[in-house]
């Protein structure tokens, strides 16, 4: 057995030195690490700032260029507005006649037209209103089917047909046969003598003179209406061109009318808001720009 004769304080002193050295080393390392972090982060930040400054001129120029393009368009807004208005007005004058020419082949020959018009609904739909005369209930039914063949036809409303269907009457004491008679008339007696007397009485009552139905037989040159036992029928067809639908060439349901008053007022409000100088007035020569917008005549003669 060996005896440890070294005092305990000697061992603690060596450990103390080691710990102090270790602590100092740790502090030094931490200081170095902190310095590294400060240096590296500063470099990174400086580099990022420099890259931003490098990228800024191109971006600023791009934005300025975009604004300039918009300014060019805004400055020409007066001209383009007036140009569009003029073109729309000129184009609108042929819409109705072309549309009627397109529609006419779909109107059946048994439907004698006396009136035709169109109501605009929106830029994709309109309502075609027809008025004319037909004779029979079958024609009344066929008319709807015929008009549904119009490209874009969606709905049909019709009115005015007066039914003249023949009816089979119930038997009575006088009429033991039940012959077919027009609607609204009373059955004729079966007995020949009584039937003759009934027909004579009916003729006496109903033939009271010239009836002038529908202007027929009159010397006037006004349009003829429905003849006796014919009907004046009004038909309305909703025509629609939904998005994506293909219509035959030449069909157009946009009957919205260019409105010069509203268009000019709206353009004036736009200009008054300071968005752009006015342009597009009718200037005399081919190269003379329009008169300046907003110029005050009070300042003297307004000129270029």
């Amino acid at each position: 057995m060996k005896l440890n004769l070294v005092p305990a304080t000697v061992k603690k002193g060596a450990a103390m030195k080691t710990m102090v050295a270790l602590s100092v080393l740790m502090v030094l390392l931490a200081t170095l690490a902190t310095a590294f972090m400060a240096y590296t982060s500063s470099q990174t930040l400086a580099k990022a700032k420099q890259e931003v400054e490098d990228a800024r001129p191109a971006a600023v120029e791009a934005v300025a260029t975009a604004k300039y393009a918009q300014v060019i368009l805004d400055n020409a807004k007066g001209v383009t507005t007036n140009l569009m208005l003029a073109n729309d007005m000129n184009a609108h004058n042929t819409k109705y006649t072309r549309f009627y020419s397109k529609v006419m082949p779909y109107v059946p020959s048994f439907y004698r037209l006396t009136s035709m018009s169109v109501e605009p609904i929106d830029d994709k739909s309109c309502r075609l209103n027809l008025s004319g005369v037909i004779q029979t209930a079958q024609q009344y039914a066929d008319l709807s089917l015929a008009l549904l063949r119009i490209p874009g036809a969606r709905l049909i409303s019709r009115s005015g047909f007066a039914s003249v269907n023949d009816n089979v009457p119930a038997l009575t004491a006088e009429d033991q046969v039940g012959k077919i008679i027009p609607a609204g008339e009373t059955p004729l007696p079966t007995d020949p003598v009584e039937r003759m007397e009934a027909v004579v009485a009916r003729a006496t009552e109903q033939t009271t003179g010239f009836e002038n139905i529908g202007n027929f037989g009159s010397p006037t040159e006004s349009a003829r209406g429905a003849m006796n036992r014919w009907s004046q029928v009004a038909v309305s067809v909703l025509l629609e061109n939904p998005a994506g639908a293909q219509l035959p060439e030449g069909w157009n349901f946009d009957f919205l009318t260019p409105n010069p008053t509203d268009t000019l007022n709206a353009a004036a409000q736009f200009n008054a808001a300071g968005a752009a100088p006015t342009g597009g007035a009718a200037t005399g020569g081919a190269v003379v720009p329009p008169p300046p917008g907003g110029a005050s005549p009070r300042e003297g003669r307004v000129s270029e």
């Binding site: 103390m16 740790m26 060019i72 003029a86 409105n259 005549p297 003669r301």
Partner: protein, 251 residues
């Protein structure tokens, strides 16, 4: 109290931790975050800068569009505006407004003649025709009320004439209606065409609006005239009648 080795180690560790914390929180974290923000900004700027060629192309396109529109508009001006001369059937807003009142009467009559002529195109019989309203006869307001200047930004006149009725065959009516697109000196639009009757005597009813752009490089300023209601009751220093202000008149 004596410091033990362990205490020294803990002390060194704590001091190191504090130093590291200062380095991280004071330098590393904020500057790295700021750099990240700058990088984000850089990316956005670069993305915007990459649009420069396209924006330059947009400027070129906008210039071409406006030039094409201006040329097309000038062609319309030539065909669809009255001349800048009263003797040729137009109107000149550069004359003083006392003269302009008289010129406007002649101009109105010329418009009515042109409308009357246009109404008969196609050989139709006119059943109902519009009347062109007169321009204001007040030299103080004729430009503002009669030609919408400077309210519209340029002188122009709109007539909503209302209903026109003509009679003829289908071909005559078609020619009549479509001819409004070719009316010289004016822009006209036909709306709500309704055809009644049976061939060959058809009646067409439609609404007519007309727009007149006035050619004018110059507009005469208001004349120095006192409105009727504001005129002095009796003869003033300027002579009998009053009403004519002395001052900066004319152009």
């Amino acid at each position: 109290m004596k410091l033990t080795p362990l205490t020294i180690l803990i002390l060194g560790f704590c001091i190191s931790a504090v130093i590291l914390a200062v380095g991280y929180c004071n330098y590393w974290a904020p500057k790295t975050a700021e750099a990240a923000n700058y990088n984000g900004l850089r990316d956005k700027l670069q993305a915007e800068g990459n649009k420069l060629p396209r924006q330059k192309k947009n400027v070129q396109d906008a210039t071409q569009i406006t030039q094409a529109a201006a040329q097309e508009w000038q062609s319309i001006v030539v065909r669809k505006t009255p001349p800048n001369n009263v003797s040729e059937g137009g109107i000149n807003l550069a004359v003083n407004r006392w003269y302009l009142v008289n010129d406007a009467v002649r101009f109105r009559n010329r418009i009515q003649m042109d409308v009357n002529r246009q109404l008969k195109v196609g050989g139709v019989k006119v059943l109902s025709a519009p009347t062109v309203p007169a321009f204001p006869d007040n030299p103080l307001t004729i430009v503002e009320e009669g030609f919408g200047y400077p309210r519209l930004g340029f002188p122009a006149r709109v007539y909503d004439f209302g209903t026109v009725t003509v009679e003829g065959t289908m071909a005559q009516i078609r020619t009549n209606v479509e001819s409004w697109s070719n009316m010289p000196k004016y822009l006209a639009v036909v709306d709500a065409l309704r055809i009644d009757g049976t061939p060959p005597r058809l009646t067409a009813t439609y609404n007519l609006s007309m727009l007149i752009y006035i050619r004018s490089k110059d507009v005469f300023p208001p004349v120095p005239e006192i409105p009727d209601g504001d005129a002095p009751a009796g003869p003033g220093p300027g002579g009998p009648g009053g009403g004519l202000a002395v001052g900066a008149a004319g152009r």
